[in-house]
């Protein structure tokens, strides 16, 4: 109805074939999801301030929130803010209830339950953000780092966490038995019918 600043074509989720995305999950904005990624019901992927690109083999569990939101000190609608893309690599695990606003997430990371990542954190690969840890700094977290404990203690582990291939295979078989899935959409935005 209001076409004043809606010159951008309407966005929808691009889901690759082979990805299992449950209908109960909430996906808003320009989100593309790679193959072999499992998105549980009640997971929320919200692209407000820019598109989100999610790679392959990721596991996004219930009540996880991946949000590309406007930085806090900018009001929307005041100026032209360039959309910043959020990239998520392969084989990451977003456990139940975590919140991720980080713009760059590499491969093989595990973000445990109720962890909170700020916008300016960059995870490279093999990191584990422990349960309940809040990481709000603006830094690049080195490879194979484990953040744990109440004070956000850190240590380096010798090997990256195992990819959850077994769990992914199991879920890709079982979830369609109990949930409806969102249909795979290939590339290009489809016009939305009112």
């Amino acid at each position: 109805m209001t076409d004043l600043n809606k010159q951008i074509p309407p966005k929808s989720a691009k889901i690759a074939t082979g990805a299992v995305v449950c209908v109960e999950s909430e996906i808003r904005g320009d989100v593309s999801i790679g193959a072999r990624t499992v998105v549980h019901p009640k997971a929320r992927i919200i692209a407000e301030a820019g598109p989100i690109i999610i790679g392959e083999g990721n596991l996004i569990e219930e009540q996880a929130l991946i949000i590309n939101s406007y930085p806090e000190n900018i009001m929307p609608d005041t100026e032209e803010v360039e959309p910043v893309t959020m990239t998520i690599g392969t084989n990451n695990v977003f456990e139940v209830g975590c919140v991720s606003r980080a713009l760059n997430i590499g491969d093989n990371n595990v973000i445990e339950s109720k962890a909170d990542l700020g916008r300016n954190v960059s995870l490279t690969s093999g990191s584990i953000i422990g349960a309940g840890c809040h990481v709000n700094t603006s830094e690049v977290i080195a490879e194979n780092t484990v953040v744990y404990g109440a004070g956000g203690k850190r240590r380096v582990q010798s090997e990256k966490p195992q990819p959850q291939t077994l769990q992914l295979d199991f879920l890709m078989k079982i979830l369609p038995n109990y949930h409806h899935l969102k249909k795979a959409v290939k590339g290009g935005t489809t016009p939305v019918r009112n």
């Binding site: 584990i128 422990g130 780092t145 484990v146 744990y148 404990g149 203690k153 850190r154 240590r155 380096v156 582990q157 010798s158 090997e159 966490p161």
Partner: protein, 462 residues
Amino acid sequence: MASLLQPDRVIYLVRGEKKTRSPLSQLYFCRYCSELRSLECVSHEVDSHYCPSCLENMPSAEAKLKKNRCANCFDCPCCMHTLSTRATNIPAPMPDDPTKTTMKKAYYLACGFCRWTSRDVGMADKSVASGGWQEPENPHTQRINKLIEYYQQLAQRERQERDRKKMARRRQCMPMAFSEKYGLGTRLQRQRAGAPLSSLAGLTLKEGEDQKEINIEPAQALDEVEPLPEDCYTRPINLPEVTTLRQRLLQPDFQPSGASQLHPKHKHLLMKRSLRCRKCEHNLSKPEFNPTSIKFKIQLVAVSYIPEVRIMSIPNLRYMKESQVLLTLTNPVENLTHVTLVACEEGDPEDVNSTAKVMVPTKELVLAGKDAAADYDELAEPQDFQDDPDVVAFRKSNKIGFFIKVVPQKEGDTDVLVSFKIRHDFRNLAAPIRPNEEAGDATTEAIWLTHHVELCLGPLAP
């Protein structure tokens, strides 16, 4: 307002050797002395040892041998959590045919909290699930053992000399055999022995061991010390590799400064303790032997004998203005209890902390007994107590709500503290009933106990 139910709001005074003040939930009641006891005026004794993760009981002698550590469980050297054993499948050559490989299980230790694994320090995976893990040997064990033996012998010699001196003073009353039999084993002797001897008491040799002379070499002082590495000042610090003080000191044998040398240690045992009244030597608290059971064989806690005062609601308190505070009194015993409240007099030595004047109800309050079946018995008639509505706000089974009037005396930011004494009757069911020739006199004598109670009512209203 859950903050009104916090335990440190209502404090009872314990008149022991030292006057201690603590909430009723942390106190014990010796029903033989009819007095409140706190943790500081009872003697603590070790009952049994157990491991907190595998809940395995361990006899005290075995615990002492294993230095109070569990044989099966390990602690993470990084975050001190309990380590769990995980298994992986690795291909290994079959014993019959070296060319073919078969999947064998390999076990490693992993921490669920900080994700530390035994592979991080280079410990190889073991092929057995438990029992394969060894702690690294301390290079100084031999020297330490030798020193301990030498000092054990020294302690034995000193004890014999002391016994000899004591016997000489006692003339001929006590024969030789008695002093050894009543040595430092009994508790009474232990309490009488002075402090310097009690530290060596644990090292005494068993009777009958040979008195061989052990000589130790004195420690040699070295002139040269290992020099610091040359790049000590220029090498950049790898922070994740540096161990924290806590991680370092948990392994006093090695105290490694690098995280790659932190080896897991066996888990410390916890103990169950029993408490004993110092005056009458009766047990106040004796837990069950089984580590999985949280019950007690003997549990003489204060909340099951003394009526408990709790704060229910506090109005806005203003300096020098009288306000009404609603308190509740709960009766823990099954018979009727009469409670009288008495305000503290001027110059009461126990009344040190109060910052407000309090007017307590003068009439005697009657509390119904605790009746466990009252909830289920619908036909029970509520007992009729003539309650003065100015004093008693409500009454519910064994609980009563009553008002006290408080006049804060001190202005400023300090909390308003009031204190008063509660006097109640206590029927001692533990004392043996004197056999009366006329049967039927089954009521036990009631004694009146007085307790000093202090309440913290919070700050004055702004």
